[in-house]
Amino acid sequence: MKRVTIVCESLAREPVTRLLQEVGAHGWTLLEVQGSGRQGLRLAEIPEFSNIQVDVIIPPAVTETLLQRLHADFFPKFAMIAYETDIRVLRPNKF
């Protein structure tokens, strides 16, 4: 199983979680985070301009679709990074 982690500006919350549903993820976990990157510092002081991190556990097949969609539709618009980690889950049939 794979964990895909997306760190992006919090305004992307709605579209990102909608995308996760579209590609077939059964859930997600969301954190409010601070960050620094090409688009500068985000201190999580004003909710509209802070960062979120979304972790989603999906089967490898779904990962490809998800990363492609992120690449095509999200990266041009939002301050965002995404990466994938190999994980071993308990109760894999859940995801």
Binding site: L11, E45, I46, E48, S50, P76, K77
Partner: protein, 330 residues
């Protein structure tokens, strides 16, 4: 008028609200680690919007809708019209791209609730009565310029996937159902519905600590605004100058309009402040979602690091002096 302007300027600069703002600026420049936790920021804005909305609603009930509709309509039209002059100036005078010019225009046509609240505070302080129902103008002026700005920007972009209509619908949704509009309009209705009775019951919360809470919030605004000062170099001199010229021009437009529709000195100043202020929360959020091609550094730096501090410190007493002169109340 001159000596009055000077004394109003002094009173404003020595008010706790402005001094706390300056403290925030200094703390950031001195690299202190002072920072408000996000929930406190959110709570303070929630409080300020609800309190001002509620009191505005009570005032509308007392004044009657007949008093309010005409200047409110004027405010809507003014908000929608401002981008029509700022867009060409930014595009052709400043050489900005079409999307950036459109996005910045949206910010200056829209309004800053905090600037408005600071203006009511200023009026209280100089004991100038004002039409408290002016909060209604604040509520209706947030959206129109945002929609106009999105249209201007989208027209300039190559048409792709999402149609212009869909973008505008998105922007309208953002502008109408954003946190600040819901709180402000909701509280206006509640103030209107619960009237004097409701005002008495909640006075100890919406009135008693109001000025102190505003001062605390301006400390945070000073921290936030000063963090953008470093970007001033990136945006260039033209945009910095625009950040001061635009509120002066728009302030005069607002004051002119208000005196035409017959508001008093207080309400006239408030309309001027609304026109002069630039949005730095609702408009940026709408632009990120509806016009992501525009560069946030431009609009945020201009609105937050130039126009907001200018209006808060020098602008308020200036618009007040102009408003008094415009309504013939020397």
């Amino acid at each position: 008028m001159n000596s009055e302007l000077v004394s109003a300027l002094g009173a404003n600069l020595l008010s706790p609200a402005v001094l706390f703002f300056v403290l925030g600026v200094i703390a950031t420049l001195a690299k202190s680690d002072l920072k408000f936790p996000e929930p406190l920021y959110t709570t303070l804005t929630l409080y300020l919007l609800v309190a001002i909305g509620f009191k505005g609603g009570v005032a509308i009930r007392e004044a009657g809708l007949m008093q309010v509709w005409l200047p409110a309509l004027g405010a809507i039209l003014l908000g929608a019209a401002i981008p029509l002059w700022t867009y060409p100036v930014l595009r052709f005078g400043g050489g900005l791209s079409a999307v950036d010019a459109a996005a910045i225009s949206a910010h200056y046509g829209s309004v800053s609730a905090v600037t408005f609240i600071a203006a009511t505070n200023f009026l209280t302080q100089v004991s100038q009565p004002f039409e408290a129902y002016a909060t209604a103008f604040l509520a209706v002026m947030e959206a129109p310029a945002i929609i106009v700005g999105v249209v201007l920007g989208k027209l300039a972009l190559p048409r792709e996937g999402r149609s212009l209509a869909a973008s505008i619908r998105g922007a309208i949704h953002e502008a109408m159902l954003g946190r600040s509009v819901v709180l402000l309009v909701g509280a206006l209705f509640i103030g209107w519905a619960s009237g004097k009775r409701g005002a008495q019951m909640t006075e100890g919360f919406f009135v008693t600590p109001f000025q102190g809470i505003l001062a605390l919030f301006l400390l945070e605004m000073g921290l936030v605004a000063a963090r953008r000062f470093g970007d001033l170099r990136k945006v260039g001199l033209f945009l910095a100058a625009f950040g001061i010229a635009a509120p002066l021009v728009n302030g005069c437009l607002g004051i002119g309009l208000a005196s035409l529709v017959g508001l008093g000195a207080g309400g006239t100043m408030l309309m001027g402040v609304l026109a002069a202020s630039a949005s730095y929360i609702a408009a940026p959020a709408a632009m990120r979602l509806s016009l992501p091609e525009a560069n946030p550094t431009f609009y945020l730096t201009a609105a937050l690091a130039v126009t907001f501090p200018f209006n808060l410190t020098v602008g308020l007493p200036l618009y007040y002096a102009l408003a008094r002169w415009a309504v013939g109340n020397p």
